[in-house]
Symmetry: C2
Subunit: 349 residues, 2 copies
């Protein structure tokens, strides 16, 4: 039914372009460290197979790619950019280590998660440790040839976006136990949970031209990042309900755990009070089993939940695209940004 | 038997002296924030009784007190000092929120812990959020009238001591599943887990005289902090095995969870191979029950484990005292430091 939306989109070129640089940047900050805690980090980043026990898979490094792309758009300083990109990616991975535990996900990228291998306590500490690697990187940026004021600005941006991420994650968990989340509340929550870091990636990248800080472009990049963050999470929510072969997410995964992702919020806020009540009763059962998941999926099909979600993502992309078209960037940069947006809309991993 | 060691020591005067200042400093950073996540923080810091559900108890604010005391020793800048003290206390409380969860402790200061009230996921996120409050405070310090180089130095110190804390916590958990922890390994672990932040408190405090950074005194303060950190944790380990009425810790609490605290490490490394093997067999049982705890306590009595631990703490205190006596400080400061040390040796909470 929804297959026409499931076009296969390969990773855009910019992911390959920055891949090696990001990998080197990340490794430089971690591989020299000696303490058992860092084994968990090496494993999670995909550089340690634990004696061949598990294959090494890595994430797509979305946030650092975004940052480097944004930096290239303004001819930014590559040293500053790679440091910021690395700091952001470690913050992101720290949050994943904790997320996996909170959601009791045993696998990510087809590999056992940190808590699944080392247990809860070590997973918490492992995440906390990784977070501070990013602080050390930021410390190095400040020591660099940049001014104190600028360093403060960069650091404030990262601290604030991290804090927003925590606020959003907290709301996300809180919403699991309520049936009255509105679309607006949902959007505000994902802006914090997912959007903050993505927005920062775009914004920080565009600040890395030290000769000429183009505050107007930077503000636009932040807005584009804002839209991209929404698109990213909405598509994530779609994959969390209708599944994806690539990441191995099963159909209905988010429904089983009562996540108030966009599909659920849509169905719980639908016009018809009859359907709304049916949804509420399904979502308020102690445990949602496979039969109930199928029931929910049928209702969602009836009220076009999938189309609603996908078109919401698309509408955010059109907003972003409009801004991109007005920016004073070269054609290559614009093309890269557009390729990225199209990918995010239809990605399956 | 050990009652002669259980003298009652009241909190030294410096705890009262700085109490209000610390409380104000901490509240200023938190109480203006709006998001459900901060309710968990207000509660944990002792300023919110959740509608009268729980009494408000607070910790003794040991680390910020130490920092302000150290700052007063060098006539430090009180603004910088209170900011650093507040940052450190939030880092400490963040780590407690996670610790409670890792150890599955349902109570601290006679009140339910964050995970016990809000669940695991929210407790993880709550801790993560609190950590960043301290980063925001550090950001403000950097914006202050201090030089960039000095700001970098302060921040590096805090980041590094945090990272050491994580490395130590990780080792602590890892040691739960091994029987061959040596006294040296134990000391290294507590230096990281507990010592790092305490050492930093003493060091950072002594750096706050901006007119005259006395690097020699600061290095000595760090060494005193190093010793104090050891004393603090060793006394904690003693209370964790032989209990304390004040905090409500029951006798044998750490033994039940196989913690490789100093008493256990001492008993597992004792000279007699017969006793060593007996201890190893007790500690390698799947679950340590109350009978086994009593068994361990009897052996510890035979081999003078309590005296060994307490005298080790005392020996570290004599080292610290020697250094204090050589420092160029006024008599009041020396007296405060000595009162503090004596308290740490015999404290019951």
């Amino acid at each position: 039914m929804n297959n026409n939306y499931k076009k296969t989109f390969n990773l855009p070129n910019c992911f390959n372009k920055y891949n090696q640089q990001i990998d080197q940047g990340l490794k430089k900050e971690l591989l020299h460290r000696k303490n058992p805690i860092y084994t968990t980090h090496e494993y999670y980043m995909g550089w340690n197979s634990l004696g061949g026990k598990y294959e090494n898979h890595i994430g797509k490094r979305f946030r650092p790619t975004l940052l480097l792309l944004s930096s290239d758009c303004v001819n930014g300083n590559p040293n500053i950019a790679i440091n910021l990109a690395t700091a952001l990616e470690y913050i992101h991975n720290f949050s994943l280590i904790h997320d996996d535990l909170e959601d009791r996900d045993k696998f990510r990228h087809h590999r056992p998660t940190v808590w699944a291998i080392w247990g809860d306590s070590k997973a918490i500490i492992s995440g906390n440790g990784m977070l501070k690697i990013s602080d050390e990187i930021m410390g190095k940026i400040i020591s660099n040839e940049i001014s104190k004021e600028f360093a403060i600005e960069l650091q404030k941006e990262i601290t604030l976006s991290y804090l927003k991420m925590m606020e959003g994650q907290y709301l996300d968990i809180a919403y699991e136990n309520t049936l009255t989340v509105s679309i607006d509340q949902y959007l505000r929550m994902i802006e914090l949970k997912t959007g903050a870091l993505i927005e920062s990636a775009m914004y920080l990248g565009s600040m890395t031209n030290l000769q000429q800080i183009q505050s107007k472009i930077s503000e636009h990049m932040r807005i584009i990042g804002h839209e991209i963050g929404r698109i990213y999470q909405i598509r994530d929510d779609i994959l969390g309900v209708w599944g994806t072969n690539k990441t191995g997410k099963p159909v209905g995964a988010d429904l089983l755990r009562k996540k108030k992702s966009l599909p659920a919020v849509h169905a719980l806020n639908t016009e018809s009070s009859k359907i709304r009540n049916k949804m509420k009763s399904l979502f308020s059962s102690d445990k949602i089993n496979q039969t109930k998941v199928n029931n929910i999926l049928e209702i969602m099909e009836d009220i076009d939940t999938f189309k609603f979600c996908q078109s919401m993502a698309e509408s955010h992309w059109y907003k972003a695209k409009e801004i991109i078209s007005t920016l004073d960037l070269n054609d290559k940069s614009k093309k890269d940004l557009e390729e990225l947006g199209e990918f995010l809309l239809y990605r399956e991993s």
